[in-house]
């Protein structure tokens, strides 16, 4: 296949930047585009609303997002080990709804504050994954040729390497911190996204309107940004939601293995400290149970949303 020529045709003239953009006149291409987008969103929401699983997932997720936002502004002295005043390993009670840990801190408070870190890690790692994965997939699929070959071999390498080993090695090299955990998860998760995006790009690239646009002299940038990306985007979005679930689980796994910030307060770190503190032997089920349940719920929520999106977006699964 012949790579498309570079920079053929004229770039669109730069738009003057205005303080306040006037509403596009009816009938203009912009107006039509926006109307079409609004219609698409309405249509999407109508389809999504019918999906019970998707709605359930969304509700759970909204609750956790609300909790995490609350946690950002809430008082965090309850996390301090020197300020802890509660009894050691106290079972759940009115005062301590999820019991206390071995240092007398409320597991409820720990779990509450853990939500923001776990969600932050999950979402940030996903952003890295999506950016790298989409870029690699788009470039490989659109350019083809040796660039495609090279990028796909790197991707294959990333796919077959045992991710846990790679993640452990990276965490060992870069040290232990939240940022490193995010980076490590992002850097080990992108290959599957890249593959997905590439296959979709390959299919979109060959469609007649792309051919037509190219024949009219559109630049590569125009083709990718106006035609390929908008058509690949739904796949990326559906994938993103599932990647968040994987990222949160990965964060838990890495923190549980002691590769996260040792004094961090993510759900995975709480689990690790509980395990080290002998929660299982001492029957302190609440110390393991509270963060464990939250992880399960959040991952479940993202997975349900992801499946619902898949149902709507994936033409092969869509009911007509």
């Amino acid at each position: 296949m012949q790579p498309p020529p570079l920079h053929v045709g004229a770039e669109p003239p730069p738009q003057p930047v205005l303080e306040e953009e006037p509403p596009p006149p009816p009938g203009s291409p912009r107006h039509i585009a926006w109307a079409r987008r609004r219609a698409a969103v309405r249509q999407f929401w109508a389809a999504y609303r019918k999906d019970k699983m998707g709605l359930a997932g969304l509700s759970i997720l909204l609750v956790f997002i609300a909790v995490a936002i609350y946690a950002v502004f809430a008082d965090d002295t309850g996390l301090s080990i020197t300020e802890a005043t509660g009894p050691r390993l106290d079972p759940p009670s009115l005062e301590y709804p999820f019991g206390t840990d071995i240092q007398g801190r409320s597991v409820f408070t720990l779990t509450l504050h853990g939500s923001k870190i776990s969600l932050l890690v999950g979402l940030s790692a996903t952003v890295i994954t999506m950016v790298i994965g989409s870029a690699v997939g788009l470039i490989a699929g659109f350019r083809g040729g040796w660039i495609d070959q090279l990028l796909m071999r790197i991707t294959d390498w990333g796919l077959v390497i045992p991710w846990l080993m790679l993640a452990i090695s990276l965490a060992a090299i870069f040290g232990q911190s939240l940022f490193v955990i995010i980076l490590v998860i992002g850097l080990t998760t992108w290959p599957s996204t890249a593959r997905l995006v590439r296959s979709q790009t390959l299919s979109v690239r060959e469609r007649p309107y792309v051919e037509r646009s190219r024949a009219l002299g559109a630049s590569n940038w125009h083709l990718v940004s106006r035609h390929v990306l908008p058509n690949v985007m739904p796949v990326i979005m559906a994938n993103t939601v599932l990647i968040v679930a994987i990222a949160i689980l990965s964060e838990t796994a890495l923190s549980f293995l002691g590769l996260g910030d040792p004094l961090g307060k993510s759900w995975g770190s709480i689990l690790e400290r509980a395990s080290d503190g002998g929660a299982a032997t001492r029957g302190a089920w609440w110390w393991l149970g509270a963060p464990g349940l939250c992880i399960v719920l959040v991952v479940l929520a993202f997975t349900m949303i992801g499946f619902a999106l898949d149902q709507i977006i994936n033409p092969r699964l869509r009911e007509r």
Binding site: T82, I168, D276, G278, T281
Partner: protein
């Protein structure tokens, strides 16, 4: 066990997951692979792993615990009070001028391979260490002029100044001349990991070693002190202390060594388990990197640390900011005592003359006076050089207590405007970091011998790059160390040792945080015959000598690892924990696979 850097090293963290799964699956099954014959097997559980059993190059506790059973020292330690007693040497005397020690050596000892053991082996081992400058052992053999064996049962040790060092006694394993002489150099010998074919004189020999899993010793029926009652001694490595304690409850292991306070608390009321609180012989310390260009090893290897760690005012402020009573109470749950100097044993311990009390206000004042100010108002002070007071702080994954202690220390130091960036690493990694001098502060521990000579040697300048934690260097201290080795009387040595403890306390290259009780437990329904060393309140196994080791026997006929199945299933909570890990791991794998499949 001696230098006992407490606990060890799980090499790869993946092994933890696999280990937990395997152990989870294995719980409930019989531990001993060869239980069907009549062999008496004793299984010890530990959360540490061994890296090498090479008798001259070990670092960690389980390595010493194992080597102690295979190789012997030429003098021993009394059960009662650790006084020096006869062992491979039966008699000794010092000449009038104090320069010559003469020892009578046993003639009824053979090596594991059947070769006769002689005084020549002892002389050869000591001379090899001196010739090859084996840093781990060389401070046991000070002022040596020559060590010779005029005949098979006599050892003569001549020194340049009068010294009692030969009968402290040296904790040096005696190796066979016919084996050691095959090695050209120290590096050549170091490559051998003490396995296979370790040849010693002790009651056991190592016959199987699966790294990260277990190692097995078999009895030496020809042991000169009498054939051991237990035929097989198995050390099992647990990657998770919970699993070890469950295994003890199920009777899958017979003995759990070096238990953390958290879990020890949960088994003291178990009916079939006897839990023993041994008096402190170890301490946990927080070290500050003292490398400067004046120290040869640091200058050669290079070093990297925050400028504050070498500032005495900073270290004094840190000591003021730390509340040892809280650490003992909350982290050790009372199984320990606040520690100040580096010698815990009552015989040689000296209280510091000037105890630094917990006083955060004083700490703040000291930092203010020393020019550590928070000029940019971010709550973190700046070093007089302008560098922010953000230091790296290492705690140990093998010892979860150090993570708890670390969290306290991080909060206390934050209150005096010092920020610590904490990292938890395993001992393999910590050893690397330690030897490359690229660290600011860490928490580690020492097991201290009955005689203070070895422990005090680790702070001398020449030990930098060998045993010295901090590369502390002080000429006055080095001189005191030599003086105590050549002290004319016990009283003089005691006063010098006390003085040295005080010098270290005042200079504080490291802060002793607490003295740890040695926490051990065994199945008292299956085993009897444990004795303590020291007899009043000591440890019940892995002692200085074979007091328990050769005395343990099944509590009744048909004992051993047979029982234990009637104890019921494994606790449901542990099942849940195991299930949770399995679910997480499977979940990740499945989701990843699903993604991978969809890619096409």
């Amino acid at each position: 066990m001696k230098q006992k850097r407490q606990k060890v090293t799980a090499s790869l963290v993946l092994a933890i997951v696999l280990g937990m799964l395997v152990q989870g699956a294995a719980i409930g099954q019989d531990a001993s692979p060869s239980a069907e014959d009549e062999k008496i097997t004793f299984t010890v559980g530990m959360t540490n792993d061994a890296v090498t059993f090479n008798p001259m190059f070990m670092i960690e506790t389980p390595e010493y615990s194992t080597a102690d059973m295979m190789w012997e020292t030429f003098l021993g330690w009394e059960q009662e009070d650790f006084d020096t007693k006869s062992h491979l040497a039966t008699d000794w005397e010092q000449s009038e001028d104090g320069l010559t020690w003469t020892f009578t050596i046993r003639d009824d000892v053979t090596w594991h391979d059947g070769e006769p053991f002689t005084a020549g082996d002892i002389a050869y081992t000591f001379n090899w260490i001196l010739d090859k400058k084996v840093g781990n052992f060389i401070d046991y053999l000070p002022f040596t002029d020559e060590i010779t064996a005029p005949d098979d049962t006599t050892l003569v040790w001549k020194t340049t100044v009068p010294t009692g060092a030969p009968v402290y006694p040296p904790y040096v394993y005696i190796l066979p001349e016919h084996v050691l002489s095959q090695y050209e150099s120290k590096a050549d010998f170091k490559k051998w990991k003490g396995f296979p074919d370790p040849i010693g004189t002790g009651p056991y020999k190592l016959v199987e070693w699966r790294r990260g899993d277990f190692w097995r010793l078999e009895a030496n029926p020809d042991y000169w002190g009498g054939a051991p009652e237990i035929d097989e001694f198995v050390f099992r490595v647990f990657q998770n202390e919970d699993a070890m304690i469950e295994a003890l409850k199920q009777g899958e292991i017979d003995f759990a060594d070096d238990i953390s306070a958290n879990l020890f608390d949960s088994i003291i009321d178990e009916p079939d388990i006897t839990a023993n609180v041994g008096n402190p012989t170890t301490f946990t310390q927080m070290s500050f990197n003292q490398c400067t260009n004046d120290v040869a090893y640091c200058a050669d290897e290079g070093f990297n640390h925050h400028p504050a760690t070498t500032d005495p005012a900073f270290r004094l402020a840190v000591e003021h900011a730390i509340d040892r009573d809280v650490l003992v109470d909350r982290v050790r749950l009372g199984y320990g005592e606040p520690g100040y100097t580096v010698i815990p044993s009552p015989k040689w311990h000296a209280d510091p003359e000037n105890v630094i009390a917990y006083d955060p206000e004083e700490a703040n004042r000291i930092l203010d006076d020393a020019g550590y100010t928070d000029s940019d108002g971010d709550g973190i002070r700046e070093h007089p050089s302008g560098e922010p007071m953000e230091l790296r702080f290492i705690v140990r994954t093998e010892a979860p207590e150090t993570i708890d202690a670390g969290e306290f220390i991080v909060e206390w130091l934050r209150d005096i405007g010092v920020s610590l960036k904490t990292e938890a690493v395993n001992d393999n990694r910590l050893t690397d970091v330690w030897y490359t001098n690229d660290w600011d502060m860490y928490i580690w521990g020492w097991g201290v011998e009955p005689d203070p000579n070895f422990q005090l040697s680790t702070y001398t300048s020449s030990q930098c790059g060998i045993w010295s934690d901090t590369c502390y260097s002080n000429e006055e201290y080095d001189q005191l160390f030599k003086d105590q080795q050549s002290a004319a009387s016990l009283e003089e040595r005691e006063s010098l040792v006390a003085q040295m403890q005080n010098v270290l306390y005042e200079d504080r290259p490291e802060l002793v945080l607490w003295y740890d009780n040695y926490l051990q437990a065994y199945r008292s329904d299956l085993w009897a015959g444990f004795v303590k060393q020291p007899t009043a309140d000591g440890s019940i196994l892995f002692q200085y000598g074979y007091y328990s080791l050769l005395n343990i026997h099944p509590a009744s006929e048909g004992g051993g690892s047979a029982g234990g199945e009637d104890g019921g299933g494994i606790s449901p909570v542990l099942w849940i924990a195991i299930a949770a890990v399995v679910v997480v791991v499977i979940g990740v794998v499945v989701m990843r696979r699903r993604r991978a499949e969809e890619e096409a």
